[in-house]
Symmetry: C2
Subunit: 204 residues, 2 copies
């Protein structure tokens, strides 16, 4: 039992990573706003006060979480897009990569589309806004490329289509949030994407 009482001490860097990890888990379970530092501490067998050895404020934790998400998500999307031979395929691959990412980390959309967005003047809001508008710009950019290759009509409004793209993801997330877990998130995603695709494709 001595072994059990031996507390492993982690470096601040490692501990920060763990805090980020459990925060995401907890946010998935009970919603971002109701995760307390006590919850975090409990989840990693630590005392509540210890959290503040590694982050000055709780807000800083969420900032770190969002930055972690941004990094991971962008990596996944870039990788998906890089395997495409044309802009339309890139959009499709990105979409399904995003859906897969969400399936694996159900908390992510909850973070990005949560009330965190509404805390005015916060760094968090700026971060989230940056991610979403950057994403939108990326999709719109690909659509412009598609236009140049006449894969979509020249009069298509790229920005509007990008907004619809984002909304499509939000809709799917809400769908799966209301009607049981990821029941058929992938399947639903495929069907919806076909409609989207048909909506923007070149009229034959």
């Amino acid at each position: 039992m001595n072994q059990k009482t031996v507390k492993k001490r982690l470096s601040s860097e490692e501990r920060q990573s763990e805090i980020i990890r459990v925060s995401i888990e907890l946010a998935a379970e009970k919603g971002v706003d109701s995760v307390t530092t006590q919850d975090m501490a409990d989840a990693m067998n630590l005392t509540q006060g210890s959290i503040f050895r590694h982050f000055a404020t709780k807000d800083d934790i969420w900032v770190a979480v969002i930055m972690w998400v941004r990094e991971r998500l962008m990596k996944v999307l870039d990788k998906a897009a890089s395997g495409a031979s044309d802009p339309m395929q890139a959009i499709e691959l990105m979409f399904f990569a995003h859906i897969a990412f969400i399936s694996k980390h159900p908390a992510i959309p909850r973070l990005l589309f949560s009330e965190l967005l509404h805390k005015k003047n916060s760094k968090l809001r700026q971060l989230i806004e940056g991610i979403i508008s950057g994403y939108e710009a990326k999709v719109a950019g690909l659509l412009e490329q598609a236009k140049a290759r006449s894969l979509v009509p020249a009069d298509l409004d790229s920005r509007s289509a990008a907004v619809l793209y984002i909304g499509m993801i939000q809709g799917l997330v809400m769908q799966s949030s209301i009607f049981g877990g990821k029941r058929a998130l992938q399947r639903e995603a495929e069907k919806i994407f076909q409609i989207f695709l048909h909506g923007i494709k070149k009229r034959s």
Copy 2:
């Protein structure tokens, strides 16, 4: 100055209505979760404790708010749909009626799509779920009618299209939430709806 100190006393019914009204306003400004009963009281020149003369718990206030929203929204949507001559037009009219409703009451989507959804086992969650899934069912129903009249392809998945419809609204809301107010919510809505429409319309 005597006039100023004269406090008007409202009946509990009237006061409840006012509480609902200011709650929606405040939720639009600072987010549902951070509205306190003190905020509400301040907004109507009342003491915090007085709130509880009219609602037993704070949750009851949000329940009343959601029911108010449901009633109003449904009325707006039904009225819009009733003016249509065919199912597709009904969907279009409903969509723009919804967008107009949101423009007038920016807090509404914030309530429906907020973290309230994540409070498991609550009456609130059930209410919100009911509204959204009912809405979705309505759209899907109209699409089925459209199918019967060959206005949309028979192989269209109505439910998926309905999810996309909801997502479209969410996307627009997020868009206007991030990039300044209702700058061009109406205009954006029109452009996006065209894409959606083309996506579900019968291939010619």
